[in-house]
């Protein structure tokens, strides 16, 4: 239930994809089209005259001891750095929102934090009697600025999904009564096979 900005992700993929697609198609057309030979000569000419053009656009940094440099040498690394930083920020923005196992509620007189272990104790306790549940895992998240819980329940093979769901909802109601607030809760039914978790309650 992490809060990756999905719209932004897809926007990035669309932008890069369209750019590549347009450039690719243009290049393909240039490659196949018979009349493109002159265009290729033009492109070659451009490349030939490039070094002189770059040499002309100069900026004088002798004052700080760097001598005379082409504009591009300043511009290109700067742009590259900015783009790289933006991308790193984008990478870091993936998958935020999972709180470190704490339900945080703010009030004007102070903040109240309830460790997710308390929820595990109550909900896990309620579910421990159910034979059809192999494992349960409870995680706290922040969704749309509010605390929410995901309860992942591993259903044993042959288990009755409707009755497992009923047990889980009753466990949630018990938790509501203990906490004193109805948090948004995602009940996730999964198979008994999953790997590598921290807050996992194994139930016999």
């Amino acid at each position: 239930m992490r809060s990756t900005n999905r719209a932004l992700n897809r926007l990035l993929l669309l932008a890069v994809g369209l750019a590549l697609l347009i450039v690719g198609i243009a290049t393909l057309v240039a490659g196949f089209w018979q009349g493109a030979a002159p265009a290729r000569e033009d492109a070659a000419g451009l490349l030939r005259s490039a070094p002189e053009a770059f040499a002309e656009w100069q900026v004088d940094l002798s004052a700080i001891g760097l001598g005379v440099l082409p504009w591009l040498v300043i511009l290109v690394p700067a742009v590259a750095l900015v783009v790289a930083v933006l991308l790193v920020v984008l990478i870091a923005a993936q998958g935020r929102g999972r709180t470190s196992g704490i339900i945080r509620l703010r009030s004007p007189e102070g903040a109240t934090e309830v460790d997710v272990g308390v929820g595990e104790a109550v909900i896990g306790g309620e579910l421990s009697g159910c034979r059809e549940i192999a494992r349960n895992r409870i995680r706290a998240y922040r969704v749309s600025g509010r605390p929410a819980l995901e309860i992942a329940v591993a259903v044993r093979r042959g288990g009755d999904l409707a009755s497992v769901t009923g047990r889980a909802v009753r466990a949630v109601e018990a938790w509501d009564a203990v906490l004193g607030r109805k948090l948004p809760i995602l009940l996730h039914l999964t198979t008994p096979r999953w790997a590598g978790l921290r807050h996992e309650n194994r139930v016999q």
Binding site: G31, V73, P77, D160
Partner: protein, 188 residues
């Protein structure tokens, strides 16, 4: 209780569709490397006059052959394919193998694997077959049940469909049963 209805809808929509994080990470990493290479090259060219000479002489020798057709076509094809793939990733919904619904107090999310297992178990029990004779695939709106009959024993397709409905309605998911019976049965 529909007090979290809007939030639940948002959560379920997100949980049942891909976030495309993997693709974004790959694209971002590639672009970052590109940025670093280009930036370093620019700085390197500025600093090292020898490499500058090499680049200048290469550029001066450019002719129509530098943009030879095979190279251009290959490059264009690769770029266009990659671009198309990324555009598709961006536009297609990317549905995950899960189904969800608002279930009053909670938002319910069921992995298709669990639903399929439960349906297969129920169908096998209803028809009196071995569990291995029933294979279930859960699609977006339907549950496809493939039954391999026991030789000489007829398969009651309606009973199978009813079993699917029982499981599906118990969860409240909108899956339509589609039962097919294999032409070849098993002897045992």
């Amino acid at each position: 209780m529909s007090e979290h209805e809007r939030l639940y809808r948002r959560i379920l929509r997100r949980e049942t569709h891909s976030s495309r994080t993997a693709a974004v990470l790959a694209v971002a990493a590639t672009l970052i490397v590109l940025c670093l290479v280009v930036g370093a090259a620019a700085v390197g060219l500025a600093v090292d006059s020898a490499s500058r000479e090499t680049v200048v002489s290469w550029a001066s020798g450019a002719s129509g052959d530098t943009f030879a057709r095979p190279a251009v076509i290959t490059g264009g094809a690769i770029a266009a394919t990659l671009g198309l793939w990324l555009v598709l990733l961006a536009m297609l919904p990317g549905r995950r193998a899960r189904h969800g619904r608002l279930a009053g107090r909670v938002a319910l999310l069921a992995d298709d694997e669990v639903t399929a297992d439960a349906i297969a178990d129920r169908v096998a029990r209803e028809l009196g077959l071995d569990r291995r004779q029933v294979r279930v695939t859960v699609a977006r709106r339907a549950a496809a049940v493939k039954v391999t009959p026991t030789s000489g024993v007829a398969v009651d397709q309606h009973a199978a469909a009813r079993a699917v409905d029982e499981v599906v309605e118990g969860l409240g998911l909108a899956l339509v049963p589609r039962v097919t019976v294999a032409a070849q049965g098993v002897l045992a």
